[in-house]
């Protein structure tokens, strides 16, 4: 791990698993049938460097949001470790964990659902400080809220301070959600589909704002998205997830230019391009994501894979580094090397 020492790692995730038990009937339990689990996250490892934007991308049900929640300690892993700034989250008491929460915040997809409709923006945003910085007096808190409101472009801040979520537009609400996440001056921000609900003409501004805030406030983002086109404008590195596993991971431009996993290739080809001259011709893989209760053996992608060989159904492919910083979990990825 000499390499890892040189890099400034903020978050380290080691072989993370999160299995959710499936509710079964009384008779099943009585006769001692094997408990079933949804393997939402099934052996995921990665590192996030301080100051980078790390993307987790995949289709719905790939486990990207669950991974994000476990990384933030919002849900306990079944097995595996999350190390945040040198501290193993599993070893912390709940008080210690709560203290750490100030340093990791989250931005969710739906701004209307993540702002309290009965609190003015000022109060709602300041609420995080009441909890995480109880030593602050009311005046200092107000100053901090006003400052962050201005920062996210809700200006004049004194005007927005007393507004309620329903009185402002969708784009402004998303800015308020960003302000609330940043008011405690976190190190890590989990952004779970932060702009998926915003319209195109507003999206660019929000992406820009997130990039700008990252630079100014020294933030690190864990950016979760299903939209590979949007990821291109913000992520430094990206991991492609499928059925609870990482299929491919590497610097974003590298992965987009030389996708080494057949799944990544299909995913990239499926994204519609806003250019009628570049209409896609290649066929799409058969079927849909299989059931995560009973995932396929070997490589989880093999039933849909166009280049699958007999051993793909048996051997689980490990993540192998085939180009600098670019790792892929496919037995036959070499053939796609440029």
């Amino acid at each position: 791990m000499s390499d890892a020492d040189k890099r400034d790692i903020l978050v380290e995730v080691r072989d993370l698993r999160k299995w959710f038990p499936v509710q079964q009937g009384f008779l099943h339990r009585l006769f001692g049938e094997k408990a079933l689990h949804v393997r939402a996250v099934d052996g995921v490892s990665f590192e996030i460097e301080r100051g980078e934007v790390f993307g987790l991308a995949g289709e719905s049900g790939s486990g990207k949001s669950t991974t994000g929640r476990v990384v933030l300690g919002l849900s306990r892993p079944t097995t595996g470790k999350v190390i945040f700034d040198g501290q193993d989250l599993a070893k912390l008491s709940s008080t210690e964990l709560r203290k750490l929460r100030r340093r990791m915040q989250v931005i969710f997809q739906d701004p209307m659902a993540s702002l309290n409709p009965r609190m003015s923006l000022g109060k709602g945003i300041g609420y995080g400080l009441e909890i995480h910085a109880p030593e602050m007096d009311a005046d200092a808190r107000r100053d901090a809220v006003v400052e962050i409101l201005e920062r996210v472009g809700l200006s004049p801040a004194n005007f927005f301070y007393n507004k309620f979520p329903h009185q402002i537009s969708g784009g402004q609400r998303q800015r308020a959600v960003i302000a609330r996440a940043l008011v405690t001056k976190p190190d890590l921000v989990l952004a779970d589909e932060p702009i998926a609900m915003a319209d195109v003409s507003v999206r660019a501004l929000l992406l820009d704002l997130m990039n700008e805030l990252k630079r100014e406030l020294n933030l690190t983002y864990l950016f979760i998205t299903h939209d590979l086109a949007t990821a291109k404008y913000i992520c430094d590195r990206i991991a492609i997830m499928y059925l609870g596993k990482i299929m491919e991971i590497g610097p974003l431009r590298e992965v987009y230019q030389y996708p080494l996993h057949p799944y990544t290739q299909a995913l990239l080809a499926a994204v519609p391009v806003p250019d009628p001259h570049a209409r896609r011709a290649e066929p799409m893989p058969e079927g849909e994501i299989p059931n995560p209760i009973n995932p396929p053996s070997g490589c989880v992608f093999h039933p849909r894979c166009p280049i699958a060989q007999p051993n793909c159904a048996v051997e689980v492919p490990p993540l192998r580094e085939l180009r600098p910083g670019h790792r892929v979990a496919c037995h036959y990825a070499e053939r796609f090397l440029p």
Binding site: E59, S60, S169, G170, G171, Q172, D199, V200, S201, V202, R203, A204, L205, L207, D208, H226, D227, L228, A229, T230, K232, Y233, R253, Y256, Q257, A266, L267, L268, A269, A270, V271, P272, V273, P274, D275, P276, H277, A278, R279, R280, M284, P285, E288, I289
Partner: protein, 339 residues
């Protein structure tokens, strides 16, 4: 491509259509004097941001709007007949047989306690009551097969199907009565990209095989670029621009279209790195801006734009590219007096 053919047969003519919603906060003008044609056999993409009136427009085409919404003016001429004059019985016959709709969310549009085949036979029974059940089942079977669902899934309930399969069933239900026009309102939006891409291919194939006419309503501009023959752009209840898809993307004229296209994220790596940032946000339609509704956000707005509304006019000799903007229209000499 249908639209480049010599003869374009018009299936639907929408003329000066306006839709208003009567809300507690006042009358909301969701669609304002919109005119356009839909040609037989084409895929027309209708794009715009949320609240621009595109879904309202789709519903208006089937006269599916219920209070507080109301078609407050204009005409919808379908295959030569003005459907605004239809009574309830005629409308019932019209919906389903002439126009059918594929909705966004198959989980809320399919009946959870009905098997897949019952959805099909019910639709046939209602609209063609004299069809024997056996024949209806046969039609359902052929249709789901062409859509790539195995016929043994016909006895399944909607919850037993995957999301992509459900949306295929919805598509099948839209096709089963051989309607002339299919309105697909964000039909692929809830799907994952790979499943969406496959369904989009399916739309194209079905259009070619059955000469369908599809109005594809979507917020996804890239999707429209991939599939539509022509594209129409709406903004704040007004039709901003209509053209052949390639023409629209190569040579957008309306400042809104120009901005919109430049702000669409693209996965192509050689593309520009920065997205265009459009200032402002769409207006509140209970008090829409005067004149062109885009003028408060328009980088090229002129004094006339905030006073008088432009006309949707062709800018090319063939009349294929229409723009609703004063930049491309002769200003009336005495416009200041007209205000």
């Amino acid at each position: 491509m249908t639209t480049t053919e010599q003869q374009k047969e018009v299936l639907v003519q929408v003329r000066d259509l306006s839709v208003t919603y009567h809300t507690r906060l006042g009358t909301l003008s969701a669609v304002s004097e919109v005119s356009f044609d839909i040609y037989k056999g084409e895929i027309l993409g209708l794009v715009g941001e949320s609240g621009c009136g595109k879904s309202t427009m789709g519903k208006a085409l089937m006269r599916l709007l219920a209070p507080p919404a109301e078609i407050s003016g204009g005409q919808i001429i379908f295959d030569g007949e003005d459907i605004m004059g239809y009574d309830d019985r005629q409308m019932r016959d019209f919906r389903g047989r002439r126009v059918s709709m594929i909705f966004q969310d198959p989980m809320t549009s399919l009946n959870p306690v009905q098997r897949v085949d019952e959805h099909f036979t019910e639709a046939i029974e209602v609209h063609e009551p004299r069809t024997p059940l056996r024949e209806a089942l046969d039609r359902a079977r052929t249709l789901v097969e062409t859509l790539g669902i195995r016929t043994n899934r016909l006895r399944d309930y909607p919850h037993q199907l995957s999301g992509g399969m459900r949306q295929r069933v919805m598509t099948g239900l839209g096709l089963v009565l051989n309607a002339d026009l299919i309105v697909a309102d964000e039909a692929t939006t809830s799907l994952d990209v790979i499943v969406e891409a496959k369904l989009v291919d399916e739309f194209k194939r079905l259009r070619d095989a059955y000469n369908l006419t599809i109005l594809l309503i979507s917020h996804n501009i890239a999707l429209v670029a991939q599939i539509a023959d022509r594209a129409a752009v709406m903004y704040a209840g007004q039709m901003a621009e209509i053209a052949d898809t390639t023409e629209l993307f190569d040579n957008a004229l309306h400042p809104y279209t120009v901005g919109l296209l430049r702000s669409v994220p693209s996965i192509e790596l050689d593309e520009r790195e920065e997205l265009y940032k459009m200032g402002g946000e769409p207006p509140n339609l209970t008090r829409p801006p005067r004149g062109c509704r885009f003028h408060p956000r328009c980088p090229r707005a002129m004094p006339i734009c905030s006073q008088l509304r432009p006309t949707l006019l062709p800018v090319d000799p063939e009349g294929n590219h229409l723009v609703h903007c004063w930049l491309y229209e002769k200003h009336p000499d005495n416009w200041e007096e007209m205000v």
